[in-house]
Symmetry: D2
Subunit: 283 residues, 4 copies
């Protein structure tokens, strides 16, 4: 049986890293099917993604075998196999479109991940989740006690053994502690071309400024609101004819598309975070 | 002989405006070849552009004849004929690309305007302007006296009977007085997707933030730097592979394209400013 | 009570048409909120779309009142009110994505139309249609008798009082007779940038040719396969990395988007067909 | 002194190629700064681009040292150093825009190549070439003798020691022999989204068909007109408002941009041809 492994590596640059990694892969009978590498000359940082096929036996001990190589090059690294499907939690408030879009992609087999749970601070999406056969948790904020709600959320995520949290238009502000727990494992979709129009009601802000394009941004959520590492962005053209409802309508399609692309990039192990930026290798 | 007129109108909305204007045009033997109209329901503002063909005789007295119609609807309005070519000044500092691009478009007949003069605070573009046969003024800032330089600039613009000033990568900050004189008649190209990355070195700012798209914005220059009414914007995709020189290189093409589109929209009378926004009718 | 009317007009060009139509609207107390006009100078054809608000009383007799105006200018014309929602049939074969997308848009209220019925030559989408509460007809081709199946289809469409047929990835070839019956009232989505890659398996054709962009086209279906008037098209970038499954996956999003835009343009009365082309007014 | 080398490799896939190549580079003291690799699973073809820095001494003997590695893996390969600037010939007929654009990019240092000569079958561009200081050959077709003109062209290209021929809107059909001589070393820009609208007057064809996007294609010229391997393509949106002159005007900008991108990809050694397709690695 053949398995496909993905090795993501970052370390200080020096000659010989690519040779060391690919020689290691070859020595374990792996055949490289995709290799991408990036060096940032400004700070001498080295990044690499290698995808390779090998036997199940060879795959079994690979991580242990790689550890010494990693150590000798001071690597941060991650080894994953494509047959291990990451478990996702989809969080949404009232707007259903991003949630529905991701559930559709999952149902049709496009999304290389498991939707483990859908969570909302509203009851609205129970029927939808039921149709897709996914557990639904309604976790309202009661008496304004956000901390309690966040506690319930954390419990639900852990119970579902979630690896990636997707804020699919989830409009609750999350605490720095919570964001820290899910650092680089929680993706948010913000409906502006960040860093323009941070904060609330970005389509209103865009309309007021009279921009000729509106945008959306998928980024890792951090304690600093809307300032986390950007994974993907896109824009579409608007005109003076578009009122705020038009921006919302047109924006929905873009939000779905960009969030889906970012989630895909993450669950197929194409993203490396460094500082407040990302390296997103080609899919 | 047939002439083509363009009437741009803005006024408070009320029933009958389109009928009044088009009946006026028809009464003078004009044939409407393009009509676009926009109503902003949020504040009841009405905007219209009518393009029509008529005889030279009918054209001669048209403005005078329209005045009472305009008064009765409280219109702001502008009547222009396409055989009157607006006179432009192109201002550039050291970077030649936007200047060169506009001169090329003028030379090949694409630009429906006259390039009356090229002005720079540097001597760099003298040879280029000479090749195109356009007068070149080198107006340096001497001993840091920006006010004096701006005075010379104003004189040069008036001497050349300029109607539109194009800041084709002109990197001098202009005084509020100067901006006021040229209000809605001076177009700037800023190399970011405004309102993101206002001010200096926007490509550096974009690189630092790790955005996945870079943009450019053409806008009317106002006293408030980079905050004037936006005419056009566009973006292009960048990745972690692109360093600042790559952003500059890719951005140049976009700066040329967006500035050229904005100038074209202005000189063909497709732009109406209201508040800090624009209505840009389809070309 | 205020209603919103849309008048679509095409006729030979002559001076005074816009004035005649807008004067007519004003005379019935209508307030023009959007007017777009196009003249094709190559053949002197005139096209106009006027959207206006007026009282329900004024709306009642408007069509009858307009008839003489239309006659005097030899107009083809259509008058519709935005509170009359066109009834749609959605036809799909096995692929669910376009169907699901349109149903979602309808459910969230984005689509200004009624989904009257979902029809397929396969049983696959019954559960989906049921969830949305839309009648589902499974009309298989039995013993290869396409004519019989087409007859059942025609009956079902008439029974549901359908005004527009949407071929949302419906892979059955339809007879010239059927296409004639639904001329300019049946929209197809073809997964190529027509006229490139007509016919079967366009993504395979695109992959074989090594194109760097793939496209999709929404058009009115006609007897000549893939040659009807184009309503909308779009493309996305692909590379040598994309195999046919990648093209299919990326293409799905584009198919949904372009079909939805075309259906929207039609049901909001923004499309005029002339010859084998369309005038699509700005939304 | 440090030099930068680029090694382009294609061969049948097998385990260990990347390791072999990168180990070779490391053994010669090279530091990999960019590595991209592609495997086509449909036919087991392997493609790789490695960019690396090394000393001038190490660079000197590198090609000879690599030959045995190449042989053992049955590689087609090319080794180039970025300080060797490819010599280009720019060929144009009457339209100047692509020619001018490439000359500008060369003058400003953006183009990593030498413009060795400008050649036209018309006298039109002599003044332009002179201003840029590039030799200009006017090689007209005399008495319809295309073969003689092509002979002169071949002589001129060889005399100028040209490595890449750029057909920058050169409207003469070239013989199969000539195309064979310059196989994969001659880039043409065709003003349609190939394979749509092959042959003459593609903007007229596009206008007649009523497409909603127009495109351009840069490809290696082959004996089969407009059917060579595609390097890059792009499109822009048009509407019913655009007549053929509008398509030409809008298309010019796109032709310049896409041709410039394709030439850049070639002269920076990012393109591998296989069959009738290309692998274009990321820039």
């Amino acid at each position: 049986m053949t398995r496909t492994g993905v090795l993501l590596v970052s370390c200080p640059d020096q000659p010989g890293i690519v040779a060391a990694v690919t020689t290691f892969v070859a020595a374990h009978g792996g055949n490289v099917v995709d290799l991408q590498q990036h060096t940032d000359p400004s700070d001498g940082a080295f990044f690499q993604r290698v995808q390779f096929e090998l036997t199940a036996e060879a795959a079994a001990g690979l991580a242990a075998a790689f550890a010494p190589v990693a150590t000798s090059y001071q690597m941060g690294w991650r080894l994953r196999f494509t047959d291990e499907r990451p478990r996702l939690a989809l969080l949404a408030s009232t707007e259903p479109h991003c949630l529905q879009d991701l559930l559709n992609r999952w149902r049709t087999g496009e999304l290389a991940a498991e939707v483990a749970v859908v969570i909302s601070n509203h009851p609205d999406h129970a029927e939808l989740a039921a149709w897709f056969g996914v557990p639904y948790h309604h976790l309202p904020v009661i008496d304004g006690d956000r901390k309690a709600q966040e506690g319930s959320l954390q419990v639900a995520l852990q119970a579902a053994e979630v690896e990636l949290v997707v804020l699919a238009r989830y409009m609750q502000v999350l605490s720095p502690d919570f964001c820290g727990t899910w650092e680089h494992r929680m993706i948010n979709i913000h409906h502006s071309f960040l860093p323009a129009f941070q904060g609330a009601r970005p389509y209103h802000q865009a309309h007021d400024r009279g921009v000729k394009l509106i945008g959306v941004t998928a980024h890792y959520a951090t304690a600093a609101l809307d300032e986390g590492p950007i994974i993907d962005q896109d824009v579409l053209r608007v005109t003076h004819r578009d009122d705020i409802d038009d921006l919302r309508r047109k924006g929905r399609d873009l939000e779905e598309a960009v969030l889906a692309r970012a989630v895909r990039a993450h669950v197929t192990h194409h993203v490396l975070v460094y500082g407040n930026k990302t390296v997103v290798f080609d899919d």
